[in-house]
């Protein structure tokens, strides 16, 4: 007997929020054939469509007052509404609608002046009502865009088709069977704590003109969207916990020699890859599907329109189910919920609450901090923008804050596989550490020792420096005597410096630092040497 839990990844082993239609295809034989990446992009032009589901961080579910705590005991956050018991009636969560509108506005969408919920009917135990309350042809937000900037500065404008409100499903635990997968399970155990948690589904228009940048743009889009949602404060956007999930639609069409002719070529058949739950996976899954499609098309085969499942461990997708037609869901307007009709005043009031968009914000901060493009890119890649901003606000120099967070602390966070914010050191402590360096009390190597102490829980930087006896010698007389002694003992080096070989000063500085047991400010030592020798 085996068990397969479908935990927080947001979807069952086989399906996500769409339920099941049609038959699961059992994978037979070995892995699918793929073309090399170079062959793929030389012969084919990719078209992408990304669907992102974001779980809102509301206190309660979308249509009932049940709490939404992650990791609660099974079926402890349920009520007659989210269990679909007869006679229960849903009422919309005001905050859920506001969050949806704010997301729509942040994505430069038009907000519908009037829209309804719809029932998406399917029979699957993850929704006890046998339908998911969603929106169909009247999404609350539509026709927007989001600019995505790649590492090399290339900006791609992703057109947003729609953002609509819906609810999450329950989680299934599949028990029994030889493989532990759904189609081998003897029975399933369902926990409805997640059923009814507000979801916003954000759907792009087909993304064209990407060429070999397609995987990178896909990843950058999800990353940019994540940053935007975080800045909006509407979700904790933790991909590893399933509060942000991505489905990637990929198709290929033959590549035209003349780029301007490319748009005349009709789209190929697409596949939808689910279970893509990390930024890195988004990039890998798109790349893999492109090479798989290319192999099928190059062999004169045809792509089956279907759901594919991404396997993080092996880096491949496998066939899921054939994609069902929308009419099989028999959508109809939800009779138990009245329409949503945000007034222009409401929309404008919500627009006034929008934060500065992440891309603009980065550009502004880069200017304020005086970072080079390369430095700023490192900061962004280290996920350190917010934490550096907080550190500067706590009094650090921007250069000092950057040096610690995207240098030493980022290095240690990487080694330990942790987030910067989980490293046990606060922006305030880093600002204090930077202050000790800027004030001339610590040099770099001492500051790193102080950092060790802070990370080991020995207290704040000042206390650690005191306890470990770390401080630069500020006694100018002692320092001057050490410098004099080293100069007297090294006439050859002095001669070189006097002859213009200033780099020879390094050896003198090293000797002074050694004589002072490392407790001297190297910059001050250089000054003292040059005063005496450089003349």
């Amino acid at each position: 007997m085996s068990e397969q839990t479908t935990d927080a990844a947001g979807s069952d082993e086989i399906l996500g929020t769409d339920g099941v239609q049609g038959a699961v295809q059992v994978q037979a034989g070995g892995p699918d054939a793929v073309l090399t990446w170079d062959e793929t992009v030389a012969a084919y032009d990719p078209v992408l469509g990304l669907e992102v589901h974001v779980e809102l961080g509301t206190a309660t579910k979308m249509f009932c007052g049940c709490p939404t705590e992650f990791g609660a005991e099974p079926n402890s956050q349920v009520c007659p509404v989210c269990l679909g018991l007869p006679g229960s009636l849903p009422v919309v969560n005001e905050k859920g609608v506001e969050s949806a509108i704010r997301i729509g506005l942040a994505l430069n969408c038009t907000i519908a002046p009037w829209c309804r919920f719809a029932r998406k009917n399917y029979f699957y135990p993850d929704m006890p009502k046998n339908f998911q309350t969603s929106q169909y042809d009247e999404p609350i937000a539509f026709n927007g865009w989001l600019d995505v900037e790649l590492e090399d500065g290339f900006v791609y404008r992703v057109e947003i088709e729609r953002a609509h409100m819906e609810e999450d499903t329950g989680k299934s635990l599949h028990v029994g069977g030889a493989t532990g997968r759904i189609h081998g399970a003897d029975y399933s155990l369902v926990d409805y704590n997640r059923a009814g948690i507000p979801l916003i589904e954000i759907v792009t228009k087909p993304m064209t003109g990407l060429g070999e940048r397609a995987p990178e743009v896909a990843k950058a889009y999800v990353a940019t969207l994540r940053d935007l949602l975080r800045a909006l404060g509407v979700s904790d956007v933790k991909m590893e916990q399933g509060s942000l999930r991505c489905d990637a639609n990929v198709s290929l069409r033959p590549r035209k020699k003349k780029a301007e002719k490319q748009s005349e070529v009709p789209f190929g058949t697409r596949t939808e890859t689910k279970n893509v739950n990390s930024l890195r996976s988004v990039e890998r899954a798109v790349r893999y599907e492109m090479t798989r499609h290319a192999a099928v098309l190059a062999g004169a085969g045809s792509i089956l329109q279907e759901t594919r499942h991404w396997h993080e461990d092996t880096g491949v997708t496998t066939s899921g189910r054939e994609k069902s037609d929308a009419e099989d869901y028999r959508y109809f307007p939800e009779p138990d919920l009245v329409p949503i009709a945000p007034t222009p005043e409401t929309v404008e009031a919500l627009r006034a609450t929008l934060p500065e968009p992440p891309v603009q914000r980065r550009r502004r901060l880069q200017g304020e901090w005086g970072f080079s493009d390369l430095e700023m890119r490192d900061v962004v890649n280290a996920g350190a923008v917010e934490i550096i901003e907080a550190t500067v606000a706590a009094g650090a120099t921007p250069a000092g804050a950057r040096k610690w967070w995207s240098g030493e602390i980022a290095r240690r966070a990487n080694l330990e596989g942790r987030e910067l914010s989980d490293m046990g050191i606060t922006p305030r402590a880093v600002a204090e550490l930077d202050g000790l360096v800027q004030g001339g009390r610590l040099n770099d190597s001492m500051a790193r020792q102080v950092l060790d102490g802070v990370l080991a829980g020995e207290g704040n930087p000042g206390a650690v420096a005191d306890a470990r006896g770390l401080a630069l010698v500020s006694d100018e007389r002692a320092l001057g005597a050490a410098v004099d002694a080293v100069i007297t003992a090294n006439p050859d080096l002095v001669e070189k410096i006097e002859a213009g070989k200033v780099q020879a000063a390094g050896a003198l500085i090293g000797q002074v630092m050694k004589a002072m047991a490392g407790q001297a400010d190297a910059a001050r030592v250089r000054e003292l040497i040059m005063e005496r020798v450089g003349g």
Binding site: C64, S76, N93, Y187
Partner: protein
């Protein structure tokens, strides 16, 4: 006359996860056709210039504040379940191998 086919009924039965015998399929085709024909009479009503209506009451934006309200305990929630295990609802296997 209704244009419902036997295949339509079989498809609907599959979507609803209801297993029908051949005899039941034939019977449902007849009964559903009668219902569809009756409902089709509504289509004869003159609707030109009339807005489609899904909600009879002139209400919009009925919402509640985002505040937790007491729900059911797990024991209460599971009390009506034919089978439960590990504090979860136990349901038959979902898909077959074929």
């Amino acid at each position: 006359m209704s244009s419902l086919s036997r295949d339509d009924v079989a498809h609907l039965a599959m979507l609803a996860r209801i297993e029908l015998t051949d005899g039941e399929l034939d019977r449902m085709l007849g009964e559903l056709s009668v219902i569809l024909d009756a409902v089709a009479l509504v289509q004869q009503a003159p609707t030109e210039g009339v807005e489609p209506m899904s909600h009879p009451l002139p209400l919009v934006n009925v919402a509640r504040p985002d505040e937790v309200r007491p729900g059911l305990t797990a024991a209460q929630a599971l009390s009506g379940a034919p089978e439960a295990d590990q504090q979860r609802f136990s349901v038959p296997r979902i898909l077959t191998d074929d």
